[in-house]
């Protein structure tokens, strides 16, 4: 097994990650209200994607591995949506505790 990715690509990824970190901080100083958390998490998602694709070689992996990654993300989303769904719909009926 030879190297799958060139060293140059790693360095580029590294630079992109640093740039994104800097932009997270800078955008954080802007008052975006509710949006600021979304932007921060969105940039974090971009960074995570870079790490997964280029450091962890997820792009070059078998379909099976991609399925595992997709599954993990999907299951996390199931957990969050169905739970937060309860909290967001509480009170819709207009009387306490329902």
């Amino acid at each position: 097994m030879g190297p799958v990715v060139s060293a140059k690509q790693y360095v580029l990824t590294f630079a992109a990650l640093l740039a994104l970190t800097l932009s997270t901080v800078l955008i954080g100083f802007l008052d975006l209200g509710w949006g600021s958390m979304f932007v921060a998490v969105a940039i974090a998602l971009a960074k995570a994607t870079l790490i997964a694709c280029f450091f962890m070689h997820a792009l070059l992996e078998r379909k099976l591995v991609k399925l595992v990654i997709a599954g993990a993300i999907l299951w996390f989303l199931i957990l969050v949506t169905l739970t937060v769904g309860d909290y967001l719909t509480r009170g819709w009926l207009g009387f306490g505790g329902k």
């Binding site: 169905l82 739970t83 309860d86 509480r90």
Partner: protein
Amino acid sequence: MSTVVKIPTAETPNYLTEERGILSWLLTTDHKRIGLLYLASVTFFFFIGGIFALLMRLELATPETDLVSPHTYNELFSMHGIIMVWFFLIPSIPNTLGNFLIPMMIGAKDLAYPKLNLASWYIYMFGGIVALYSMARGGVDTGWTFYTPFSTIYSNTYVVGAALGIFISGFASILTGLNFIATIHCMRAPGLTWFKLPLFVWSHYATSIIFVLATPILAVVLLMIAVERIFQVGIFSASLGGDPVLFQHMFWFYSHPAVYIMVLPGMAVISELVAAFSRKRIFGYTFVAYASVSIAVIGFLVWGHHMFVAGTSVYSAMYFSLLSYAVAVPSAIKVFNWTATLYKGSISWDTPMLYAIGFIGLFTIGGMTGLFLAALGVDVHVTDTYFVVAHFHYIMVGGTIMAFLGGMHYWWPKISGRMYPEGISKLSALTVFLGFNLTFFPQFVLGYLGMPRRYAAYPPEFQTLHVLSTAGATILGAGYLMPLIYFFWSWHYGPIAPPNPWRATGLEWRTPSPPPKHNFEVTPVVTQKAYDYDAMKEELGLV
């Protein structure tokens, strides 16, 4: 099939005789030996949990608390639940029969990570010892559900110890699931494609998905309980504005799929038994295979049905109820397909088949009462009553344990190289079936009448039904003791078993009983589908 089956003689070493001495067991990486280590451990925990259950049933024979104090009673049902769920039911079939059989069924020498397999047994035992220790120190009285804020603020018992024991053994579950998934993906014999796999393997694959994706949530929520209790910071308690219902969400996100961890391996066994003892391919193999996976997946979407009166929103109750009905469909498909397999079969009444038929009947009742609990309006009355207790015992005891015992009888010749005694085993199957129904059917009526669960004392009008239940529990206990005794007997004195006593088709039957250390002398090449009796009729001598 190129494998030549040799009749085992004293000279041919098998996995039991290849190495000897206690260390050769404690340091083994052979999946078959680890399966037996698990078998001994889960049997031990089963009888501990069983003793707790029997004491509870004796206490409940009268309406007053006269045998044990209410506090002791609360500890009894808590420890019964903890031991039975995490130290018996969850590892029962996957870690014993699954461990023993999956590599053989797929024609592999071992699991993908044999050392990890051994490590998971040690982790499981360590967790079990921690849990038992905290019970010996004074027990735990939170129920197996650890609901906050009772578990984090108000209980004066060894909650952290018990939670730690479960937390540790959770890693054994994760590692087992990981091992099975990797094994089934990477270690199949040449030619063995997914749709040639036995349904046992499919079902265990589905189970492993749940192991791997649900157990971490249990680990993290128990960790949060421990942090809250030790540092007295409110994560789920109101002191900081936390919400106890969030704990319930996280707990059931694990614990509902955990129900499928318990019953899917039972279904795995039943598929094998029904095929072998009808000498037929399972009716609608593909449907049953997909049903296993869809149970595992949809099973993750229904946890909220444990919380319909817990103070969640009415809207979330709606979607959880609807999804709960959706998960009932694949279970129904399985029951129908097993039944249809009998049609025009060649049905033998050997003990494993008796257990299998018992399973189908009891699982049907258990599953159908689940429809009652999923119906929102009905659930309001019957939730947290004996109706729920009866319902999940029909699934777990009537389902999983029946399947476990059926599977143990079926594969006993392979495991031990000897046959079990047929007469007494039929008697025990019958005793278990009758004892089980007598124990748990009255509990449906109790719950319907409104008897809440986890009551040490109860109004006198419920006594008749409780007495029936206690009587049944005694019979059930005797039914479980019988196999324990005759399996020990058979291990030493049973008649020598041929490689394939049932004339079944699985790869595990095409190697000597007991199998050699690496399962097969020559790696098998698979050319036919599962349960293909037509293709194998010459080899099996069938006409």
